[in-house]
């Protein structure tokens, strides 16, 4: 496998994991209109749950159950879904701005637990030396990367298919109805709160699954994997790609992650060594510009949602 191919597989695997998180956010925001600014928290819960369940036994840790990876994935989905349920019960009656701040705080709180609850999470050192599925298939790391990439693709495809079905179902139509006008939905005898909670829990579970996939791929988790900027990146992927469109979410993940990492490679080539540090700041400025410009010139994202109802014009 040539270097470029090896790198591409690696890049696409990470982008695929991010695309899965974006799908989780898409169901919450794109289809239901629930603002979740704590994406990273659910992703972290999934990653840590998986790590604790599959990890080797170490004396200073509570975890180390040594479960197979499938068990870790299942646990991740359940734990993140449960966290989503609790958060939803507490916050979903708040309006959007409040929900934004409340979930932002949840993301930070989860990271604090990861840092401070050392007996469970390994604290700031993280959990290391975790077993990776398919790692010992052939002993060749290139094979592992390819197989894992296929694995992520399959899961991404399954979630896509499931969500596409869900959206076309009566429940999915109800979601969008609530997003557009929850008073009207209520007047038809539907319970918006209940549907919102269901949507939030499903989305959180999907984010947790993505966390488990990250753990399985890298074999290591630590608190700085879950810094708040990740929430921002995921949102950028959704908004730039096109909120409310499954294809948009995947395209957005690829584009934003390519810009985010590719601009670093590019700038490190172009900028002279003594200006490297400044070039890094320029890189983030460029990313900010791309996001703002996309919103200005393509508010619906690169791939907009196929309109089922009239465009939303709320708040104003």
């Amino acid at each position: 496998m040539t270097g470029l191919l090896a790198y591409s597989v690696f890049f696409l695997t990470i982008a695929g994991i991010y695309a899965i998180i974006v799908m989780g956010l898409n169901i919450q925001w794109g289809f239901t209109g629930l603002f979740n600014a704590g994406v990273v928290g659910f992703y972290a819960i999934g990653a840590y749950t998986c790590a604790v369940l599959i990890g080797p036994d170490r004396t200073f840790l509570f975890g180390g159950f040594g479960l197979p990876f499938a068990g870790g994935m299942l646990g991740a989905v359940v734990a993140a879904g449960l966290a989503g349920l609790v958060v939803a019960l507490v916050t979903l009656r708040l309006s959007e701005e409040y929900l934004a701040i409340a979930t932002f705080g949840i993301g930070i709180s989860v990271q604090l637990v990861a840092i401070n609850a050392a007996g469970l999470t390994g604290g700031t050192n993280g959990l290391y030396g975790l077993p990776r599925p398919f790692w010992n298939l052939t002993g060749d790391v290139a094979v592992f990367n390819l197989v894992y990439f296929a694995f992520v693709l399959v899961i991404l495809g399954l979630i896509w298919a499931a969500l596409a079905r869900l959206i076309r179902s009566p429940w999915g139509r109800l979601l969008r109805a609530i997003r557009e006008d929850d008073v009207a939905a209520r007047s038809l005898g539907k319970s918006p709160v209940r549907v919102r909670i269901q949507s939030f829990v499903i989305g959180s579970g999907i984010m947790g699954l993505a966390g488990a996939l990250y753990t399985g791929y890298i074999g290591f988790v630590s608190p700085i994997d879950f810094i708040p900027i990740l929430t921002f990146q995921i949102w950028a992927m959704l908004i730039v790609g096109g909120s409310g469109s499954l294809l948009g979410g995947v395209v957005g993940s690829l584009v934003i992650w390519l810009v985010w990492t590719g601009s670093g490679t590019l700038l490190s080539r172009v900028a002279p060594p003594e200006l490297q540090a400044q070039a890094s700041a320029v890189q983030v400025i460029l990313i900010g510009l791309i996001i703002v410009l996309t919103i200005l010139f393509r508010p619906a994202g690169l791939i907009g949602e196929p309109r089922a109802v009239t465009p939303a014009r709320r708040g104003g």
């Binding site: 409040y98 701040i101 320029v282 703002v292 709320r314």
Partner: protein, 301 residues
């Protein structure tokens, strides 16, 4: 305990200054501007820029570090921060207002925040900077507590500014119009209150307060490009606690957030400090969804 209260009051003043600006913008312009926290940083750094460009010393007044040079620099910084707020509005927010879902607007403000933060990083570098390297020692109040002179000053100035702002909103014609716009934008438009004027004044007040808060932060702590980002959560928590659009509420909210944080650390491990404003916020919102004090209709559903 008394020391914790003293600590909370002094930190609270800086949060309150930021929160008063945020709450006005949220109440009147109806959007959560995440870039507002970066305006604080911008303000702080602009004052530093003025000092270094003119070669002025920050100076001092009696026991306070806020000397003539720094006061002048702060005034210039306030103007420059208002300029930044207006430019951001003109180039980004204004074009989107009324056209897109307002969360998209919020998201655009994330993008603006990122740009502002890293422009500062580019211009001033990433390391910590100070207006002056003098260290001031705390006043001892009996055996009870130690307080820093600068913090007392910041506290008092914050109260005065809040009083002034309250009077302006309550008694001036323009202030009344602003409050009307916050209560009911449609009605105030019919009444002929020009939205452009209100927009201008709102950003002016928000930007000026942010700059002031940033400078005070620089005086009592230090300047770094991510100062604003770190203050984001407490500032928004304070604004929401106080009820959106309610200036006095935001002032109280700022003090409450900081006080609870300081006092809670008597029992809670300090590693969890960052989560405290948010837990306070959740509790309050659970009990009173529109905040502790009456806000405008802008925030609550």
């Amino acid at each position: 305990m008394i020391q914790a209260i003293a600590d909370g009051l002094s930190t609270g003043a800086i949060i309150a200054l930021g929160a008063m600006g945020v709450t006005l913008v949220m109440g009147i312009l109806r959007f959560t501007n995440f870039a507002h926290a970066e305006y604080l940083t911008w303000g702080g750094y602009m004052a530093l820029f003025v000092l270094s460009a003119t070669g002025l010393e920050a100076g001092s007044l009696g026991p306070f570090s806020l000397g003539p040079g720094l006061i002048l620099a702060m005034l210039v910084a306030m103007v420059l921060t208002v300029a930044l707020a207006l430019i951001a509005d003109r180039l980004v927010f204004h074009r989107l207002r009324g056209k897109v879902n307002h969360i998209t607007l919020v998201f655009a403000s994330f993008g603006v925040a990122l740009i502002v933060r890293y422009v500062i990083h580019l211009l001033f570098g990433g390391s910590a900077q100070y207006y002056s390297n003098d260290l001031r020692f705390a006043w001892r109040i009996g055996d009870l507590a130690s307080v820093m002179p600068d913090q007392v000053l910041v506290f008092v100035v914050t109260l005065v500014v809040a009083g002034g702002l309250y009077t302006f909103l309550r008694y001036s014609a323009l202030g009344l119009a602003m409050r009307a716009a916050a209560e009911n934008p449609a009605l105030s438009a019919i009444n002929g209150v020009r939205f452009r004027t209100i927009l201008l004044v709102t950003w002016t007040i928000g930007g000026a307060l942010a700059a002031m808060s940033g400078v005070f932060y620089g005086v009592t702590v230090q300047l770094r490009p991510d100062v604003g980002f770190q203050l984001l959560l407490p500032i928004f928590a304070a604004a929401i606690l106080g009820g959106i659009g309610n200036v006095v509420g935001a002032l109280a909210g700022g003090f409450i957030v900081a006080l609870v944080e300081a006092v809670a650390l008597l029992w809670i491990p300090s590693g969890y400090k960052l989560a405290i404003p948010f837990i306070v916020l959740l509790l309050v919102l659970w009990l009173r969804p529109t905040g502790l004090f009456r806000g405008t209709s802008g925030g609550a559903k």
